[in-house]
C-alpha cells in the first residue's frame, strides 16, 4: 500500500482549530510535512489565488466513474488530477512503490501556478478533453450527477487520495450555482484536508471545480445573495430530495451541505462530517481539550491547581533534564515528573492518578504513545533526511502549542502568583550543586517509585469521605438480606466490625431514613478507626434525627480526632442544648459559633448539677482534649469511668488522652482495659501501636498496627503509620507487603 495511505489513513478529517488529523500517523505526517493548515484561516474564505490547471497532453481523462478513487484502483490513485508538467506527473507514476518521498513531493511540490489571460481558452480545451471521454455512468438528471460527483470528492478526501477530475455532462449550472459550489468547496476542502497545505487544498478544489466547469479564480465574490433564483431552487430541490421517495438524492454530501447552509457556520459542516463519518475518539477528545483551553480564563480552584502542578513539574522536568547523570536521567522520579508535566498524571487531593478527564487527557497519552513508538519505527520506515527535519518540526509544533497555552493572560497571571519559578530554581540549583550526592538522589527517586505505586494502588479509594459523603463498599453480600439492621447489630455485638459495616450499609441502602442504622454504622466506623466514614454516617443520622445525643456526642468526638475544633465544639454544644436536663443552661444564641470558654463553663455547670451523670464528664473530657488541657481531660474521663467502668470506649478515650499527653505507659494500661472488654476494638489496637511508636518501640508498634489492620484492612491511617514504623525499624523489606496491603505476609512476619 502506498505510503500516502499509510500516512493519511482513513478519516482524514481533522477537528476545526487543530492542525492534526484524526489518525496518529496522519499527525506525524502533518508534522513531517509541516503542513499545519490552520482551520482558523477559513473563517473567511482563503485568500490565496486558485490555481487553474494547465493543459497537459499527459492528462488522464479516463476516470472511471463507478470506481471511486481510493477503492479498487489503488495502483493508480496517485496520478495527479491536475495539470502539471510531465516530469512531475511521471514522478507520481512511481507512487505505488510506497516511498515516503512521493508523499512528500506530492504534498510539497507546489502545483504549477498558471495565471494569465488565457484561462478561458484552457478551460475550453479541458472541456473538449472531458467531453471526449464521457462515461455512461454520469448519466441521469443533472442533480443526480452533481451529487454523485461531489460525493466522490468527499470519498477521495476521506481515502486520502488525490481527487481525480471526471468528465461530466453539461449540468447546466447557473453562475449562482457555480459560485455556491465554488465557495463551499473551498470551505469544505479545508476541513477534509485540514492536514494538508494550502497548495494541495487548492489543487484538490481546482480539480473538482474544473470538472464542473467552474472558474476557481472567480470565487470570493462575496457571499451568496438572494439574486440567484436558480441556486435557491437547487437548494430547495436538494433538500426535498432528502425525503423518502427520492432515493437518488439521499446524498450525505448534499445534506451536510444544506445543514451547513442553514447554520451559516462553516464549522458546522465539519461537525456533521464527524457525526456521519465517524471520527475516532482522539479527535473529539482533542476538541474537548480545545474547548477546555478556550475557557481557561474561567478556571479556578482545583483545575487551576492541576495546571499549576503540571506547570511546576514541567519546569522541574526541564531543570532536571539538564542533569546529565545517566542514573538520574533513567530514574523513575524523572519519568514521574515528566509524566506530571505532560498531564498524564494528576494529583488529586493527596493522590496521584492517571489523568482521566481533565486537560490534555488521552491526547497527551496518544501523543506520548506516538513519541515512544515513533523513533525506531520511523527510523526503520524512512531512513532519510526528511526524518530529522520532520522530527524537529514536530517538536517545534509541540513546543509552540505549549507556548500558546501558556500565553493565556489569565492563566499566566494566576500562575505567577504561585511562585513556581522560585522553588524550581532553588531545587534545580541545589541538584546542580550535587546536594543529593550519589545515594540520596536514589533515595529521592525511590521514594517516588514507592509512593507512586502506593498511590496508584489506592487511588480509586476514598476522596469523598473527607467531604462528608458516605462511601459505600463495592461488593456487599448483605444487600438483599431480610433484616440487615438486626444482622448488623448482632455482628457489632460480636465485635465483627467490618462485617457489621456491610450489614449496616445494606440497612441504610434499604432504609435511608433509618437514623439508628446510620448511628450504629457511625459508631462501628469509629470503633473501626475510621473517623471520616464515622462522620459521614453520623451526619446522615443527624439529618434524620437532629437531637439524638449519642449522635451529637459521636460527631463531637470524631471531629476532635480529626482536629476540627469548630465543628467539634458545635456538636458538643448542640448536645448540651438538646439534653432534656441541661438544655436550659444553653442559650440558643450561642449555637451558631460557640466559644470554647463558654461551652466549657456551661458543661462545668452541668457537671455540678448532676455529678453522677457520666455523660457530662465524658463530654467535658472531650472538650478538654480540644483545648489540650490533658490533665483535666484525664480527670474527667476517670470520673466517668468510676460511674461506667465497663464502657470500653471510655477506657480508650482515657488511654488516648494519656497518650496525647505523652503518658504512654499509662495509656497502654487503659487500652488493655478496653481490649479486655472488647477484644476486636480496632481503634484500641491501632492506638496501642501509636503509643509504642511514640515511645520509639517500633517493632512492637508494627505488631499492633498489623493486628488492627487484620481486623479492618480499610483503616488507612493505620497503614500510613505502619509504613512509618517499618521504616523506623529498618524493615524496608516489608515495604512491598505494606504497599500492596498484603496482610498474610505481614501477619506471618509480625505475629502478636
Amino acid at each position: 500500500m502506498a505510503m500516502r495511505d499509510l500516512v493519511t489513513g482513513g478519516a482524514a478529517c481533522a477537528v476545526p482549530g487543530t492542525a492534526s488529523s484524526s489518525n496518529p500517523l496522519g499527525a506525524f505526517a502533518n508534522a513531517i510535512l509541516g503542513s499545519s493548515s490552520k482551520a482558523q484561516e477559513i473563517k473567511g474564505l482563503p485568500g490565496a489565488a486558485v490555481n487553474v490547471p494547465g493543459p497537459s497532453s499527459d492528462f488522464r481523462t479516463e476516470a472511471p466513474l463507478t470506481t471511486l478513487p481510493g477503492l479498487e484502483n489503488e495502483g493508480q490513485q496517485h496520478q495527479q488530477p491536475y495539470g502539471q508538467n510531465s516530469e512531475f506527473l511521471s514522478g507520481f507514476r512511481s507512487a505505488d512503490h510506497g516511498v515516503l518521498g512521493d508523499a512528500w513531493n506530492e504534498v510539497h511540490q507546489p502545483p504549477l501556478h498558471i495565471r494569465g489571460g488565457d484561462t478561458e481558452a484552457r478551460f475550453q480545451e479541458f472541456e473538449q478533453i472531458y467531453n471526449r471521454g464521457v462515461p455512461p455512468t454520469w448519466d441521469g438528471p443533472p442533480q443526480g450527477v452533481l451529487s454523485r460527483f461531489l460525493h466522490s470528492f468527499v470519498d477521495s478526501g476521506r481515502a486520502g487520495v488525490p481527487f481525480r477530475p471526471a468528465a461530466l455532462p453539461v449540468l447546466g449550472l447557473s453562475e449562482g450555482d457555480k459560485q455556491c459550489i465554488r465557495d463551499r468547496s473551498f470551505i469544505m476542502a479545508h476541513h477534509i484536508f485540514a492536514d494538508k497545505n494550502e497548495e494541495y487544498i487548492n489543487a484538490q478544489v481546482n480539480a473538482l471545480l474544473h470538472s464542473l466547469d467552474i472558474d476557481g479564480n472567480q470565487r470570493l465574490k462575496g457571499p451568496m445573495r438572494g439574486s440567484y433564483p436558480e441556486l435557491e431552487e437547487y437548494w430547495t430541490e436538494s433538500q426535498v430530495a432528502l425525503r423518502p421517495g427520492m432515493p437518488n438524492f439521499a446524498d450525505k454530501w448534499v445534506s451536510e451541505f444544506s445543514q451547513q447552509r442553514e447554520s451559516g457556520d462553516p464549522e458546522a459542516w465539519a461537525r456533521s462530517f464527524e457525526q456521519q463519518h465517524g471520527v475516532n475518539g482522539w479527535a473529539s477528545e482533542f476538541e474537548q481539550e480545545h474547548s477546555q483551553l478556550a475557557s481557561i480564563d474561567q478556571m479556578s480552584g482545583a483545575n487551576m491547581y492541576q495546571i499549576a502542578a503540571m506547570e511546576q513539574s514541567r519546569m522541574l522536568a526541564n531543570t532536571l533534564a539538564q542533569n546529565t547523570d545517566p542514573k538520574f536521567q533513567n530514574s523513575k522520579f524523572l519519568q514521574f515528573v515528566s509524566k506530571m508535566s505532560r498531564g498524564e498524571l494528576i494529583v488529586d487531593e493527596n493522590q496521584i492518578k492517571p489523568a482521566t478527564s481533565s486537560l490534555t487527557d488521552d491526547w497527551a497519552n496518544e501523543y506520548q504513545g506516538q513519541y515512544n513508538a515513533g523513533p525506531s519505527y520511523w527510523a526503520d520506515q524512512f531512513a532519510n533526511e526528511e526524518l530529522s527535519r520532520g522530527k524537529d518540526k514536530w517538536v517545534n509544533e509541540f513546543v509552540k502549542e505549549n507556548q500558546q497555552q501558556g500565553s493565556d493572560d489569565q492563566w499566566v497571571n494566576e500562575f505567577s502568583k504561585l511562585h513556581v519559578q522560585d522553588w524550581t530554581d532553588e531545587f534545580g540549583k541545589q541538584v546542580a550543586e550535587g546536594a543529593f550526592g550519589e545515594s540520596t538522589a536514589d533515595d529521592w527517586a525511590n521514594a517516588y517509585d514507592k509512593y507512586l505505586d502506593e498511590q496508584l494502588f489506592t487511588s480509586k479509594k476514598r476522596s469523598n469521605a473527607s467531604r462528608g459523603v458516605y462511601e459505600f463498599s463495592d461488593m456487599n453480600p448483605y444487600v438483599g438480606h431480610p433484616n440487615p439492621l438486626r444482622e448488623g447489630q448482632e455482628l457489632f455485638r460480636k465485635g465483627l466490625l467490618s462485617e457489621a459495616v456491610l450489614a449496616l450499609e445494606a440497612e441504610v441502602l434499604k432504609n435511608p431514613d433509618n437514623a439508628e442504622g446510620w448511628r450504629l454504622l457511625g459508631i462501628t466506623h469509629a470503633e473501626n478507626d475510621d473517623d471520616q466514614q464515622a462522620i459521614a454516617a453520623m451526619m446522615r443520622a443527624q439529618e434524620v434525627d437532629p437531637t439524638n445525643l449519642e449522635v451529637l456526642l459521636a460527631l463531637g468526638v470524631s471531629h476532635t480526632n480529626e482536629l476540627e475544633q469548630p465543628e467539634a465544639l458545635k456538636y458538643l454544644y448542640s448536645w448540651l442544648q438538646n439534653h432534656p436536663k441541661y438544655g436550659a443552661l444553653a442559650p440558643p444564641e450561642l449555637a451558631d459559633s460557640p466559644y470554647y470558654a463558654d461551652v466549657a463553663r456551661l458543661f462545668n455547670e452541668a457537671a455540678q448539677m448532676s455529678p453522677d451523670d457520666a455523660d457530662v464528664h465524658i463530654v467535658l473530657g472531650v472538650l478538654y482534649n480540644l483545648s489540650r488541657e490533658y490533665d483535666r481531660a484525664i480527670e474527667s474521663f476517670q470520673t466517668a469511668l468510676k460511674l461506667k467502668p465497663r464502657d470500653y470506649s471510655l477506657w480508650n478515650k482515657l488511654g488516648a488522652t494519656q497518650a496525647n499527653s505523652i503518658q504512654s505507659a499509662d495509656a497502654i494500661l487503659a487500652y488493655q482495659q478496653a481490649l479486655d472488654l472488647k477484644p476486636n476494638y480496632v481503634r484500641a489496637w491501632a492506638n496501642m501501636g501509636i503509643s509504642y511508636a511514640n515511645q520509639g518501640l517500633y517493632e512492637e508498634s508494627i505488631r499492633y498496627y498489623v493486628r488492627a489492620l487484620a481486623m479492618n484492612p480499610k483503616a488507612d491511617s493505620a497503614w500510613q503509620y505502619l509504613k512509618i514504623s517499618l521504616s523506623c525499624a529498618s524493615r524496608n523489606d516489608m515495604f512491598e507487603a505494606c504497599d500492596t496491603r498484603n496482610l498474610d505476609i505481614l501477619q506471618k512476619e509480625f505475629p502478636l
Partner: protein
C-alpha cells in the same frame, strides 16, 4: 486556644514528645532546626510560624532567631498530611504543596517519623 490551626495540636504534642526518651533520641539523631510557616488556607497568607528545634529539643512559636537549616511553607492541612504519613514530603514538594528554603539535605530529614502520632478518642 492561641492558635486556630489544627497543626498546633500536633506541635503541642511534639513539644512534650521532645522531652521523652524517644524525643531525645530524635534530637541526637537529627540535630537540625526546622522553621515551619503554616498557613490556614493558602501558602504565604496569614502564616503562623513555628520552630521545631531538633538541636535543643524545643518547639517554639515565632520565627527562629538565626538561620534555620530548612524552612518549610505549607498549609495547615498539608502539614498534617505530611506529619501523619498521609502525604509523602517529596510529593508535597513536587506539587508545590510544600515550599522549601535552605538545605535540601536538611529538608530530606524532615520525615513523618519525627512527629508523634495523635491517638484517637
Amino acid at each position: 486556644m492561641e492558635s486556630s490551626l489544627k497543626s498546633a495540636a500536633l506541635l503541642e504534642q511534639m513539644k512534650v514528645h521532645l522531652s521523652t526518651d524517644a524525643g531525645k533520641e530524635l534530637t541526637k539523631k537529627i540535630g537540625l532546626v526546622y522553621q515551619l510557616n503554616i498557613a490556614p488556607k493558602k501558602i504565604g497568607v496569614e502564616e503562623e510560624i513555628f520552630v521545631v528545634d531538633l538541636k535543643e529539643g524545643k518547639v517554639t512559636k515565632g520565627a527562629y532567631a538565626g538561620k534555620p537549616d530548612a524552612t518549610f511553607s505549607f498549609t495547615d492541612k498539608d502539614f498534617l498530611s505530611i506529619a501523619t504519613g498521609k502525604m509523602n514530603p517529596q510529593i508535597a514538594f513536587i506539587r508545590g504543596a510544600m515550599k522549601i528554603k535552605g538545605s535540601i539535605i536538611a529538608a530530606q530529614k524532615f520525615t513523618p517519623d519525627i512527629f508523634p502520632k495523635p491517638s484517637k478518642l
